[in-house]
Amino acid sequence: MNPTICRRIRCTPARVAPALAFISCMGVLSTGCRVEAPERSEAEERARTTGYRGILLPEAGPRPDFVLTDAQGAAFDFRVQTEGDLALLFFGYTYCPDVCPVHMASLAAVKRDLSVDEQRRIQVIFVTADPRRDTPERLREWLANFDPEFVGLRGSEAEVDSIMLGLGLPPAIRDTAAGPDYAVGHASQVIAFPPGDGFRVIYPFGTRQADWKHDLSKLLNR
């Protein structure tokens, strides 16, 4: 054999090492392709123990009984009009820069992926904690950015605070002295009332779309 060719194809360690390193790295990468979403210990631990990624309140009694006004100006009886459906109740305000739009966007995104029948059986109820600025028009337009089916409710500040207190939530803090762009401190959890009542599931801020996807069908079909 030609000695030049022989030398060229000789497998010296210096030549083999890069190839081996490359193959090993590609092996690691291909294994990594099966890596799941990040560990979400708290929500997943809850799912292992209760079946829900939200926080289960097992004996929470019937859903609250209150009547507020919707964004069209009609009276909305929460207990009557959400009966038999999965109601997802949230208190917030449309000028909220962080928690409220994130919750609404997550719910809208996950709801879109459900079947038409399941979508019909979910009611997202957004009660404004800032009725001064959240006019019916504002409420309607803001919610339509996420899902036109979302229900926006208004009441007086006292009414809304009283409902929140009844649900074990702290009343909203409206820092109106800070000027027209004031912030409203409010509870950041969504409360799920599954059909049939008896229990509630709380979804704090930080609930991911994956968590909603995991829980919504279960809540609907329990």
Partner: protein, 278 residues
């Protein structure tokens, strides 16, 4: 917005278009400018006109690399990278694919000569920047720094975000080294192989692209739960990031492949010599 930060990271406060300083980024830019000055000072001016011309062009390339890094890391792109996956991807493209080749092209000729005269260092560089090793290191960094668990843990602190940016820059320098750097000389890694190397990386880029673009849910908690910026929902933002990786990254790599092709074509033309005249 929270107080002054030395490096950009994810924030829980709502986004505003008020500029914010990142002193760590400014320091990096100043250090890179000083490094180029030091390279030129140590290497001295080349005696030949070709070397002088190369150094002049190299100065512009270095400036371009520093500018790309500055844009990527400072406000607003750097700050937005804590809110939007798409801004984070733009940061990746600039830091790992645009700045490194420009910085390497900007190293003065004399500095390369000095490096070549140190056999020990060259031996280490030869191994670390062997095309297969370089490609593997870069792909590992690319993969690791796009893992949701890594992004969610690191992007929330300036130090973590700095670690990601540093990995991108170092990974980018290693990746581009065999294509751009003249030291160590690799006789057998000619233009066709360089084109193949770059093409292979466009193929490998497809994996994270598909992961981001076709994911049913947002992968990154840090972006899913970030205060919204603009009209993009979390999943759409992630899809835009995936497309940017494929289209933007592909554009950069294919531009480099095209440049290599024309360099190859030009050299072949020179080797053949001038056409015979009658």
């Amino acid at each position: 917005m929270s107080g002054i930060q030395w490096w950009c990271s994810a924030q829980t406060a709502a986004w505003t278009w008020s500029p914010r300083p990142f002193f760590g980024v400014w320091l990096l830019v100043a250090l890179l400018a000083a490094l180029h000055w030091l390279f030129r000072k140590l290497a001295g001016a080349p005696a030949d006109p070709l070397g002088r011309s190369r150094d002049r062009k190299g100065g512009w390339a270095w400036a371009g690399g520093v500018l790309a890094l500055w844009i990527a890391l400072d406000w607003p792109v750097g700050a937005l990278s804590g809110y939007l996956a798409s801004a984070h991807m733009l940061q990746y493209l600039l830091t790992a694919l645009v700045a490194p080749p420009l910085l390497l092209l900007g190293v003065p000729v004399g500095a390369w000569r000095k490096l070549a005269s140190r056999p020990g260092v060259v031996r280490v560089i030869r191994f670390a920047t062997h095309p297969l090793i370089a490609l593997a290191i870069f792909q590992l960094i690319l993969f690791y720094t796009h893992l949701p668990s890594v992004v969610d843990r690191l992007m929330v602190t300036p130090l973590g975000s700095f670690a990601i940016d540093t990995l991108w820059l170092v990974g980018g320098l290693i990746f581009w080294w065999p294509v751009v750097a003249p030291v160590p000389a690799r006789q057998r890694f000619g233009y066709p192989l360089k084109m193949g190397y770059l093409f292979l990386s466009t193929v490998l880029n497809t994996m994270p692209y598909a992961f981001l673009t076709f994911g049913e849910l947002p992968f990154y908690g840090v972006y899913e739960l970030a205060p919204p910026v603009g009209f993009l929902a979390a999943r759409e933002d992630q899809q835009v990031a995936g497309l940017m990786m494929k289209v933007g990254g592909g554009l950069i790599l294919w531009t480099a492949i095209t440049i290599q092709f024309f360099l190859w074509y030009g050299r072949e033309g020179e080797a053949e010599g001038p056409a015979p005249t009658a």
